[in-house]
């Protein structure tokens, strides 16, 4: 009988090898290196019989690092799509077991588990946000594969009471993880993890400020993997070093020590996801053909302020709860549409975007049902047009790159016209 590959180990090996490719920018190389290291650690823990955990994105990885448990964000196994031709098999396998309208990022871990190509974790901690796919499928998967499972409930809207509620649930989760794994939380280690995480959040805010500059010295091309790193590696020194490097290189561009990769002519804010497939037909195409720089995407918009001073256990839990509730997507997608609209407007206005792209993942029901309201609000309040683009951001078979590019061509023409018209008006006004 053929032995199953261990995809998590394979991802670790491939990403680690890619990170040594001199053709990649340091931002990409180091980002892939971080991911590779994480997956190798997870695979190693499994091989050594140490406890392993899958967590929903948003569940604080800091807690798991402080318990010496490697946290793998199940939905982030979608990074397998960074390796061309690898992801389809798992999506298809999962689609034999559940309907195709379940989010593809949920179907990937399912496909991996069904294929036997990924070792299953010892425990799984999920949360109800940002969408229905998670409670719907994850509880069924845990039952099906016999994985002990804990669910954290995040309230509908953010509030001080909601943060306290979530903090209580996180404490209960810790007790559950301790019971399941026999690993005790070391509060001293948690303090260290929170300090690293706090520094990482501070850097995310600084990178955000940097990306807003015109021309931007830090576009999506440089900061794309920051989110992926943060949701799993927040709490480690590695992610701090990585973000510091992104920031320093942006500073170097600003001070003229490093060149800007492309001359910026148009500025684009991706107010939701960005397709991971066909970059040459999408993000890179826009940049190369139109000088349209993708500044950032919603998932990078981490706005939790760093901690102040030395926190005790209760204060740390409250800060982590705030993080859970304000994780991009959890913040925008689980509550009233205005929260999402404000977040999108923040990206459009503060990043001084000429155009916004809502690359709506087909499975994101809540966002599609808010898309028109958000688009109208952005036009009304910022005067900026939004392209609503239906894609599966992982699975390029749903809306192939060529079809996306065709829509982008029209949209680029529109925002070019708008920009010219704005400039002409400004010139007329200044005469």
């Amino acid at each position: 009988m053929a032995e199953h590959p261990n995809v998590i180990k394979e991802l670790g090996t491939i990403f680690s090898a890619l990170s040594k490719n001199p053709a990649l920018t340091p931002e990409k190389a180091q980002g892939l290196g971080l991911l590779g290291g994480l997956y190798l650690k997870a695979a190693g823990a499994h091989e050594k019989g140490e406890p392993t955990a899958w967590i929903s994105f948003g569940i604080p990885p800091e807690i798991f690092w402080a318990m010496d448990i490697v946290p793998v964000v199940d939905l982030n196994l979608a990074t397998i799509s960074l390796i061309p031709g690898k992801v389809e098999k798992y999506i298809d396998l999962a689609t034999e077991a559940v309907p195709d309208y379940i989010c593809s990022t949920n179907r990937i871990p399912l496909g991996l588990a069904l294929s036997g190509d990924a070792p299953l974790p010892n425990i799984w901690v999920v949360q109800n946000a940002p969408c229905d796919s998670i409670p719907g499928l994850d509880s069924a998967m845990a039952k099906y594969f016999g994985i002990p499972y804990y669910s954290v409930h995040v309230p509908y809207v953010n509030s001080p009471l909601g943060y306290e509620y979530t903090a209580r649930d996180l404490k209960k989760m810790i007790a559950w993880v301790e019971g399941q794994t026999g690993r005790k939380l070391d509060v001293g280690r948690l303090k260290g993890a929170v300090q690293h995480s706090s520094r990482a959040h501070e850097l995310m805010l600084k990178i955000r400020e940097m990306a807003m500059l015109v021309p931007t010295p830090c576009s999506l091309n440089e900061n794309r993997l920051a989110y992926t790193a943060m949701i799993q590696l927040a709490g480690t020194p590695e992610v701090v070093n990585y973000l510091q490097m992104i920031y320093d290189r942006a500073q170097d561009r600003l001070s003229g020590k490093l060149p800007y990769p492309i001359q910026e002519k148009l500025r684009i804010a991706w107010i939701y996801t960005v397709p991971t497939y066909s970059p040459g037909l999408i993000v890179d195409y826009m940049a190369n053909e139109y000088g349209a720089i993708s500044l950032t995407f919603m998932l990078n918009n981490m706005l939790v302020p760093p901690v102040k001073g030395d926190l005790d256990y209760e204060e740390m839990m409250l800060w982590l709860a705030q993080k859970v509730c304000n994780m991009p997507m959890t913040r925008e997608c689980r509550g009233p549409w205005e929260v999402y609209a404000d977040s999108a407007l923040d990206l459009v206005q503060n990043y001084k975007a000429d155009g916004a792209i809502f690359s709506g993942h087909t499975a994101c029901k809540s966002n599609w049902a808010a898309a028109k309201l958000v688009k109208d609000k952005i036009l009304e309040e910022a005067g900026v047009p939004t392209l609503n683009l239906e894609t599966d951001f992982i699975d390029g078979r749903v809306t192939p790159g060529e079809a996306v590019r065709d829509q982008l061509i029209e949209f680029m023409a529109l925002i070019q016209r708008n920009k010219r018209s704005r400039e002409e008006k400004n010139q007329a006004a200044s005469r």
Binding site: V126, G136, L137, H153, W337, S366
Partner: protein, 377 residues
């Protein structure tokens, strides 16, 4: 007229005679979409809770301006009717974060035309059940009670609330008695008829409904019962299967729907609300969260599976038809585990992905026919 005829008549159209009579007394009607809404609070304020549905909706042109084909057809149908003004007899709406689509309908309606169907309350229903979430939901319900009082200038006293809980518990008990009769080898009522009774419950003032239910129970106890069926079926799954036409198709082919685990059916009434004398809100919160659960409750999958198995056993079910609305992610994902558990238990299982409105019965008939042939005894 028989009680069944009277109840059936109450399901014709969106606004039945009982609602018209209620409104003629100057009383209010408030719509809701999900069984996690504590109707008792509205009823205690002398407001008729009305479970919103969109029977007969065949197109969603207006709704599709705001939603897309990725959103579920039940919600798009309700949004369509709301935009067309078909719910204008309602004095407001109550929403919950039941699922992504329903909560967005609330967003759309309160944003584009807030005066037409005022939002009376939005309840954040926790997606798990423990001491913290019960306390959370108790507070949400208390805030909702305050909203109702403010919106309609009424006082929901504890005495009125307790009375409302008792009236609603009587409904639950009567519906359960009806289901008990369906356990018989020759049940005195079909699944299609039962669905009509259940639909009447969602829109009719409770005292009137309870009166008709008592009459119905008396009447059908003398019925001969249905014996010419090929197999006893249970409807499970989610999305609220409120269209009797689905049941009709199954029963025309010789199946007999004897029970369900649907939110228009047993999950709505299976457990009474616990009356905690010194904290009625706590009793409501506990009872609403601790009922046979919707798949949105992410920590209750074992309980859900056990409930299905218990129903299969108690109602001598030959096969389960697990229906989900296309695009319903909470129930669609559950299939993985429920299918497997049914297989392990040796319970025949048919999956039915459906749209809200039944249009064209050919394919459904073929599939049900094949299923019946497989399980027929």
């Amino acid at each position: 007229m028989s009680a069944l005829d009277e109840l059936t008549e109450l399901t014709a159209g969106l606004e039945n005679q009982a609602i018209k009579d209620w409104k003629a007394q100057g009383k209010k009607v408030v719509g809701f979409f999900c069984t996690y809404v504590p109707e008792e609070i509205l009823y205690a304020a002398d407001i008729l809770p009305y479970r919103v549905a969109a029977p007969g909706c065949t197109q969603t042109t207006s709704a599709d301006v705001y939603m897309t084909h990725v959103n579920c057809s039940f919600v798009r149908s309700c949004l369509e009717y709301a935009l067309e003004g078909k719910y204008d007899f309602l004095d407001g709406l109550v929403f919950t974060n039941s699922c992504d689509d329903i909560r967005r309908m609330s967003d759309i309606l309160r944003t584009i035309d807030p005066k037409r169907l005022p939002l009376i309350g939005f309840l954040d229903v926790p997606k798990k059940v423990d001491e913290y979430s019960i306390a959370w939901y108790r507070d949400e319900m208390s805030a909702f009670r305050g909203n109702v009082e403010k919106a309609f200038g009424v006082k929901v006293t504890d005495a009125k609330l307790k009375k409302a809980i008792e009236v609603y518990n009587e409904t639950r008990d009567l519906l359960k008695q009806l289901y008990e009769l369906r356990r018989a080898d020759n049940p005195p009522i079909t699944g299609t008829e039962t669905m009509k009774v259940l639909l009447a419950a969602t829109t009719t003032p409770r005292e009137e409904f309870n009166r008709l239910m008592k009459k119905l129970l008396k009447e059908i106890k003398g019925r001969e019962g249905v014996s010419n069926y090929k197999a006893r079926l249970m409807i499970s799954g989610g999305g609220g299967c409120d269209d009797p036409a689905y049941f009709d198709v199954m029963e025309e082919l010789g199946g007999l729907v004897v029970t369900d685990t649907d939110c228009f059916g047993s999950r709505y009434f299976w457990k009474p609300v616990q009356i905690i004398e010194d904290d009625l809100m706590l009793g409501l919160a506990k009872s609403y969260l601790d009922r046979p659960s919707c798949a949105r409750m992410m920590d209750r999958i074992d309980e859900r599976i056990d409930f299905i198995k218990e129903m299969v056993r108690n109602f001598k079910v030959d096969g389960v038809i697990f229906q989900t609305l296309i695009n319903c992610q909470v129930w669609g994902g559950q299939l993985l585990a429920i299918r497997e558990e049914m297989k392990k238990a040796g319970i025949p299982f048919m999956e039915l992905d459906r749209e809200y409105a039944l249009s064209g019965t050919g394919q459904l008939k073929t599939r049900v026919q094949a299923f019946l042939e497989r399980i027929e005894k």
